[in-house]
């Protein structure tokens, strides 16, 4: 990688080799993910989240540091608010005019969650970021992308991979001018019952921007975790207890239901113990899940063809407690997950004093909630009505995390070997530990060099990618195989970040460009003698051709000359008109011709020469000298000047006839296609004449 160059300041962004990655949020923190990528004059925003712990404008990423109008592309990884919560604000309240993409499932759930979020935050906060109307109106600006579908915006190519984590979550691969960047969003490499594991892209990125939530932690193995979960449930119902599993409605609940249903299926002895899923939203959440089966793993996608895996054999939905007879052992999954209120809280309060019962906390817990409190195994708890109750039921904590752990991240990096790793979305210390661990992992490895960066918010990581400029030859220029050292000339066409060389005539075939020609015309007043002009032009060019006059011009007596093969000179009364197709060479020729015309017109000397020597050349003398010259050139035998009307020179059996009047040379009819002798003889005839008859 080249060192930072001073010159870059003046290089236009489009040509710069600098790639900047700047977190405006999620830099050494969890929340308000928002990362800006800048390369080759393109700007991309990755995620646009809010910080859940902050309110109003404070919850936004540091968007005031950028000009939203300059962002070409915005990619949203998944539907969590810390990744998309600021999107309606960004789309509706800023000057952003680029394009926005997310997956289909994300878009559906995003709207559902945000429409509640906007109301909750507007009621509890004083300054509103955006309203429901803003959310509604922003929906049309969001485009969807299928997994693995390649899209291109402003020359930026991008596509996405499954990221695990939650339904619809995506990792984006972005390619700008051949440099590839992978943004993981939040991901999990562990396949679970319904979501697939994050894919390992087949293309290797140059830069990996990865989440680091769990730092160097290592999760319990899935099998062990599931076994522990099932065994705990089994123990509780075996001791005639009631098992409470507080869960959230979307995501983890479906996962746990799939596990429990399978476990019950394999344990017929449990069949008389009911499992209830008590959530008024349960069925609706299921509907969402069933809609987006294509975003799930193969197991589910195959199963759906036979029967719906989300229709459980052993689990009843409990829409109303009227249908719940609390008479014996049972398993109840109820929301909310942190037991802050609601059904899970009420069941907990009525069951907590019986030591046969048990509660299993299957998610993360927030400080200040009952779920967090009971993890410290207190002797008593306080009910919502203020009553003290003894806590005798067993409490277990089993983490079903949908984030990558150190082991998964490390394997992911090992598979991709990106030269640069940028850590985002992690608490400062976790991130530092992960960075240290990754560096340690590769410090003794001479083959793989991985740089790990953990930028703070607003701090840019600057990387240099010196791209070798490569231009492909296309069209008729490529018809012939090029040889080493051969020059190729054509037009260099730059499109986004690729270069092509084309013949001008191919422009319209391969590009949207067209070739135009400019024809120049110049009229000069000319009253001098035409013959003198012609004479002078012959001296200048030696390549003056009379063009046959067309019908019209005959009447008005127009004469046309072609000088240097490209300049057309038209003479009519009092006027000379020059015409040529503009290009640097022809322009120069035209200038020369113009000078001659003006000179002949204005310089009296030029006219005098003509007048004083009307018959300057003595024809006999000219013929004699010509004979001597040709005898010198070709040998005496070759020259036949006996007949003055039929002077000829014969070389290698080819005879050229010379006309002294016009000083032109002709072959005998049909005798040759080789012009070289003719040209040579003609040139000699002309030169001798010029030498004997110098002008001016």
């Amino acid at each position: 990688m080249a060192a930072k160059r001073k010159a870059d300041v003046t290089v236009p962004a489009e040509e710069s080799d600098q790639l900047l990655i700047r977190p405006l949020g999620a830099g050494q923190e969890v929340g308000r993910s928002c990362i800006i990528l800048e390369f080759k004059g393109r700007k991309i925003m990755l995620d646009c989240g809010i910080h859940p712990g902050l309110e109003g404008m404070d919850a936004l990423p540091y968007i005031d540091l950028i000009d939203p109008a300059e962002i070409d592309l915005l990619l949203i990884s998944h539907f969590h608010l810390d990744h998309c919560g600021a999107l309606p604000w960004f789309l509706q309240k800023t000057s952003f005019k680029g394009r926005t993409f997310m997956t289909h499932a994300t878009k559906a759930i995003y709207r559902w969650l945000l429409s509640d979020y906007v109301k909750v935050s507007n009621i509890s906060a004083d300054d509103m970021l955006y309203t429901e109307t803003d959310l509604e109106e922003s929906m049309d600006k969001i485009e969807t992308i299928n997994f693995h579908e390649v899209k291109e915006v402003a020359g930026i190519k991008f596509w996405c991979y499954h990221a695990g984590h939650v339904l619809g979550a995506a990792m984006f691969m972005i390619e700008i001018a051949g440099v590839k960047i992978l943004y993981t969003g939040d991901f999990s490499r562990q396949e679970d019952r319904h979501l697939m594991a994050a894919e390992i892209p087949s293309v290797k990125p140059d830069i990996l921007i990865t989440e680091s939530t769990y730092g160097t932690h290592i999760h319990e193995k899935r099998e062990e975790r599931e076994a522990r979960f099932c065994n705990t449930v089994h123990d509780i119902v075996n001791r005639e207890g009631r098992c409470l599993i507080p869960v959230f409605a979307l995501g983890r609940a479906q996962e746990l239901l799939l596990i429990l249903d399978e476990y019950w299926q394999n344990h017929p002895e449990l069949h008389d113990i009911p499992i209830y899923y008590a959530s008024s939203l349960a069925k609706k959440c299921m509907a969402v899940y069933q809609t987006y089966v294509n975003a799930m793993n193969d197991k589910i996608r195959k199963a759906i063809n036979i029967n719906n895996p989300f229709v459980f054999k052993h689990i009843s939905n409990l829409k109303s407690m009227d249908h719940f007879d609390d008479i014996g052992p049972s398993v109840v999954m109820a929301s909310p997950g942190m037991m802050q209120s609601g059904l899970s809280r009420e069941l907990f309060e009525s069951w907590c004093t019986d030591k046969r019962n048990g509660v299993i906390i299957a998610g993360y817990c927030v400080e200040g909630t009952l779920a967090k409190h009971i993890m410290s195994e207190p002797e008593e708890i306080t009910t919502m009505s203020g009553q003290k109750l003894q806590l005798k039921m067993s409490t277990d904590y089993i983490s079903f995390s949908a984030h990558t752990d150190y082991q998964q991240t490390s394997e992911f990096i090992r598979a991709l070997k990106p030269p640069h790793v940028i850590l985002v979305h992690g608490e400062q210390n976790e991130m530092a530990r992960l960075k240290a661990a990754l560096i340690r992992e590769y410090e003794d490895n001479d083959e793989v060099h991985i740089e790990v960066h953990n930028p703070r918010n607003t701090e840019a990581v600057t990387l240099n990618f010196r791209g070798e400029k490569l231009a492909k030859v296309m069209g008729c220029l490529a018809d012939k195989k090029c040889a080493q050292g051969q020059r190729v000339s054509g037009i260099l066409v730059k499109r986004n970040f690729s270069y092509h060389i084309l013949a001008p005539s191919d422009l319209s075939n391969y590009t949207e460009l067209a070739m135009s020609t400019v024809k120049q015309t110049q009229a000069i007043p000319f009253t001098g003698p035409y013959s003198l002009l012609v004479n002078q032009l012959r001296h200048l060019a030696g390549d003056v051709e009379e063009v046959e006059a067309s019908e019209k011009t005959e009447k008005i007596e127009k004469t046309t000359l072609k000088i240097f093969k490209n300049i057309t000179l038209l003479h009519e009364a009092g006027m000379v008109t020059l015409e040529w197709v503009a290009n640097p060479l022809n322009d120069m020729y035209a200038d020369a011709v113009t000078t001659v015309v003006l000179e002949v017109q204005s310089n009296p000397k030029a006219q005098k020469v003509m007048e004083s020597k009307p018959e300057a050349v003595d024809v006999e003398e000219y013929q004699r000298r010509l004979e001597i010259m040709f005898q010198d050139m070709f040998g005496e035998d070759c020259v036949d000047f006996k007949d003055p009307k039929n002077l000829s020179v014969t070389v290698d059996g080819k005879t050229a006839y010379i006309s002294l009047e016009t000083r032109t040379v002709d072959y005998e009819e049909g005798s040759a296609d080789d012009e070289s002798i003719k040209e040579m003889v003609e040139l000699a005839v002309q030169r001798l004449y010029d030498a004997m008859n110098p002008t001016m």
């Binding site: 859940p52 810390d82 109301k119 909750v120 979307l250 069925k283 609706k284 829409k319 407690m321």
Partner: protein, 404 residues
Amino acid sequence: MEETGKQQHEIFLELRQRLESGLLILRKDVAHSPTEVKVFGSDSSLLIQTSRGLWRAELPPRVSVVPGSCQPTPTGDAGEGLHFRLRLRVDQQTESRGSVIERIQVQQSYGFCCQACGSRILEQRVFQRVLPLPGGNWNTLVGEWCCHPDPFANRKLLPRTEDCLTGDTYFLLARDNSCNQTLTVEPDPTSARSAANHSQDSEKPRHVHRTTVKEVSCKNCSSMLGEALTGDALKFYITEVMEIESEDCETKRAGNRLEFVEKTLSARLVELSSAQSIFRFSIQAPTGKTAILLWLLNTDTLVASFPENPVTGNGTLISPGDSRCPDEHQSRLAVSAVKVLYLPCSSTIHQDIVSAWERDISVHNLTLPHTTCQEVLQLLSASTSCLPPSLRCMNSYQVAFMRR
């Protein structure tokens, strides 16, 4: 069906403003053959003349019948009477007043009174904020908002003094000093809800820190108006209270309870439907028990119908007022209405439909007091029974029109 069949109105007119077409049905005793019937439009009205008399349906401004467009159409059921199709010219669709939730605005003065007796229940107040509440189940999903510790979980969505927080069928207001004199707050004695059951209440947001429902009712007439969420926050159903802009409550008092419920609910259905593209609603009691499944079909309808013996006071679709003999000239105003399909959930029939709707994400739950659910059902079935038999049902659903 036999019994309701007798209630079929003599003449029924359904006009679709968006389609610019209309359907006219004459009961078989009104005319026997199309030749006996003359239908013609005059300025802003449609006239129907048979040997038995003349009927006039008055049309709203800028809506008229295309002359000569009225054509008889064959009917499947010969016993039903004569059917005619006609074309309309609609220069401007009629617009109806929004519901109270749409009408309430910031910086305006409002008072609230009991719909049943008209007595004032809250002091005149000016709102600084009028904000919508999130969907009823938002807290069930709050854990999915972020992948990490999420501070929203403990948010309480309660109104401040100058707030009006609006839900789908209710609004939350802060209690004021007059409440002690105007309202009674006591645990709901009739509610069979268990403590655990409360969280199943699908229409309530975060304010569930309670073990018993505290019902709020009017001190004057004891009508149930809503619930007390906390000591300071009150929830009022839009079907039970009226907002007034002037100081005088009595002038606003509507004479007809069912008409008020009908118009309030239909306006709300139209608003929710157009704002969120919802067409199917599950009308539930606060216990979460579904009372009616309701499918909003058209919102551009105008209806007029002519009963044989004008019904009095029971508030069916067609309001009374014209007591002249039917063979004489009758005149009715064609009114804006919404056309709905519905299914009462009281019985055990159609359980498959009920469970299909429950599972469907596009079905929206609306909570109304238990008695109001009954009233809605009553007005829907009254509307159905007036219709020509062929229009009364569609597949398993019944059809009704609700005035806006």
